[in-house]
Symmetry: C3
Subunit: 346 residues, 3 copies
């Protein structure tokens, strides 16, 4: 879509400087931009790159100036840039209309404006809300429930009974509602513990490619509004995750863990079963939280076993000082036990 900087400023409710008719039709990084691409600058150290860019229009933060460019001024330039990008480059539809190859049960209720791609399978008693888009090969098991405005990229599997809110985005290969990993040991074998609960995904959640979210065993697995999961994340049965939490790739959350709001997980972190991860905390990449532990509100943890980040850093510093400590002890031994006075000072 081609806009002028004036239209963009109106859309973003921000001020602009320069020719009101400066055209903007895309977004880019400073290095790869063409003249009509919008770029953004958050700090003065990126001004030089922006200045050298062919882009004619730049979103800048407060107090920054940029000669020879049309400028949009925003308190949070990266956010303004993201909103502008959404407006200028609306997401391409995943599916439009109902593809004739889709297999849809007669009892499924498909709202207005829903798109269903080739080879999708929609089983009995499924409900799909308005304007939701369902990509090729998506499988909606019996009784699943999707809200409005969801985007399921090709090849998403949703087992029976799973519920998604509105504006949920699910990437290719994600599996929602598979059996949790629960067994009872008896007579030398493992017997499946019932995995008959469900999954509830709330509004505006985004789920990455090949991520798996298991159904609850007796109750449900739940993911709060606005929470974002990266690729290859594992969420086990009965986990409850609050709102606006972010979980980086390859992190695993074990059974019955309770995660609060606004938590940030680094990649490849592992949370053992029955932990409580309170609001606003941060779990470092590759950290391992032991079974049943609590990470307190606002706490940052790292390492395995996960501990306070400051404690980890201090321990690591002491570990790197061990050579010096060993040497000190050797010196003391030389003096005390062997009666030597060495010349080593420290």
């Amino acid at each position: 879509m081609r806009r002028t900087i004036k239209e963009l400023a109106d859309f973003l409710s921000c001020e602009f400087e320069g020719d009101a008719l400066t055209p903007v039709s895309g977004v880019a990084s400073a290095a790869s931009a063409r003249p009509e691409d919008l770029i953004y600058v958050e700090s003065s150290r990126h001004l030089e790159g922006a200045s050298a860019s062919p882009a004619r229009c730049v979103v800048v933060g407060p107090g920054l100036s940029l000669r020879g460019k049309a400028v949009l001024r925003a308190a949070n330039p990266k956010f303004a840039f993201a909103r502008a990008a959404e407006w200028l480059l609306p997401a391409a539809p995943i599916a439009q209309g109902i593809h004739p190859t889709a297999v849809i049960a007669p009892s499924a209720q498909i709202a207005e404006g829903v798109g269903v791609g080739p080879f999708a399978v929609i089983e009995e008693d499924v409900q799909v809300g308005a304007a939701t888009q369902i990509g090729a090969y998506c499988f909606l098991g019996k009784g699943t429930w999707l809200g409005a405005g969801c985007r399921l990229y090709p090849r998403v599997t949703i087992y029976s009974g799973v519920r998604l809110g509105n504006y949920v985005v699910v990437h290719s290969g994600a599996v929602l509602g598979a059996d949790g990993f629960g067994y009872v040991a008896h007579a030398g074998k493992r017997w499946k513990f019932p995995q008959v609960g469900s999954v509830q995904i709330h509004d505006e959640v985004e789920i990455g490619a090949n991520t798996t979210i298991d159904r609850g065993s007796l109750d449900q697995t739940e993911i709060g509004s606005g929470t974002k999961l990266d690729n290859l994340v594992h969420v086990a049965h009965n986990v409850s995750i609050g709102e606006n939490t972010v979980i980086a790739a390859q992190t695993g959350i074990s059974g019955s863990v309770v995660v609060g709001k606004n938590v940030a997980f680094g990649g490849q972190a592992g949370i053992a079963d029955h932990c409580v991860i309170e609001d606003d905390s941060a779990i470092g990449a590759q950290a391992g939280v032991l079974p049943g532990k609590t990470v307190r509100k606002g706490q940052m943890v790292w390492g395995t076993p996960a501990r306070d980040l400051d404690k980890f850093k201090e321990q690591y510093a002491r570990l790197t000082r061990l050579p010096k400590l060993e040497e000190k002890v050797k010196n003391l031994e030389n003096r005390v036990i062997h009666g030597l006075i060495t010349g080593i000072d420290h």
Copy 2:
């Protein structure tokens, strides 16, 4: 299915107390149960929750009593509960009959009562045993062999020549039989080492969502009866896993590793190539076993490099005592080198 407690007691071969006609039609946790749901209590600390639950029928362990409830007595109440759940809530069929959209090669041999879902592809010379269910989008490559009573959820890929025993369960997105990661370095490039072996999955194995099991390079990759793999697990080429082993999510097992029986892997563990993990051992979550190492029968290991759990704990305790050790050395230096007598006692 609706049963009486008397029928349930007969099925489980256990005693009951209370009204023989008490109806039971489902299973639940104490907190979410409705009156006809069965619940279970393993220890006295869960008695209060069970007592307050609307559930009328409870499986209890020996020596526990519960007023006002119909009670089933079992030596292993969780196991009895699991068996009851299986009887009351038989798994919904994944596929019934042969869906007309499935593409099945004329030479494939499909036994009686097999279900094949929409868009499944079954190539030449495949054999499928009685009552096996094959979900939508399942791909059975040339010459694959499935036993009886298997359940393949939608979207399982099985490369050519892979063999599954009876009652194997495979969840969505699993890939069985892809090429192992084996290359020969030559002249600055990597050339594929032949990956022409196969995969043998024995009876009653369960394989989680998006798990990958590679084919052997020259020989085969093998998973023993009753072994359970969680989601996003990686099993490399030529690995051999024994019976009744459990492998939690995101664990990776490298090429040519030999794993025994009844081994328990925590999540995100990593086993380097050519290790031997003997029977009844336990690999802690996120542990990393170095190439070629042996974990002995019954041993529990943790950490990277993986070591005996007790050793890990001791080392970690010493690490947390380093501040005190550093202080002691400083005191000694003050006395011995600087001639100071500090008042610090410890």
Copy 3:
């Protein structure tokens, strides 16, 4: 294919000893070989096994002799074996011809000899090069571009605009071009940062099962020629990987990381954002490289935080010596503070 050892020697440009008509029709390990299988021996400790094998023909390295076998002599016997395997057992076709169930947009340009399997979806403006094979359920989004001789196993998803070079191999479940994990925090919520870049995969790359490679946010994600990725690997947005690098299973590479040529990643390694991993370096299994760090050319690192392998080993050795250090300090205290002379010597 059935060949003589003479033909094989000609193909490999190497010498042979023994009956020129010795037939060879397959490859195997020494233990499982049948008489017509080729086996190989790299070092003298494998001579005994080779000697006992039913295989009649063996590739051996320089200076090794093997009585009673027809022998092919090669400087790199494993490489010669791999090339022989490729010649004797050409990879079975993934798809031949265009399957009638495939959904192909009229604007797609499909070259000569391309195979397209059942239920494949090829969207508008896709280009597919000569002799490329596209398995069942493969999804090629709008405007994707595939070179010649590629092999896409069943169930590969390629989002719009992704470009693959020639002879690229992609295994089942891989997802190329999904949105990167980039959000802007604003007013307590996470807003999607534009993920409008692309992915460029160069020639002869191999991508493992269920691996995910995200598209660039504004620029592109790029994987150099000859690089090999194992299963369940995660490559984030804007990552650039050089040529002939190998990445073992379950490794994750965060946003904007730059990886050089000939780098070797162990399994489950994690690279935080904006790192630089220079040519010829090696990242140990489960290592964690902190944000923005550089691993230098040829360096080997291990542990979290990742450090030089030698440093890691030295620190670990010191950690295991802590009990002795604690004891030394206790002895010194006994002497200096308590005036005791213990008999302990060390």
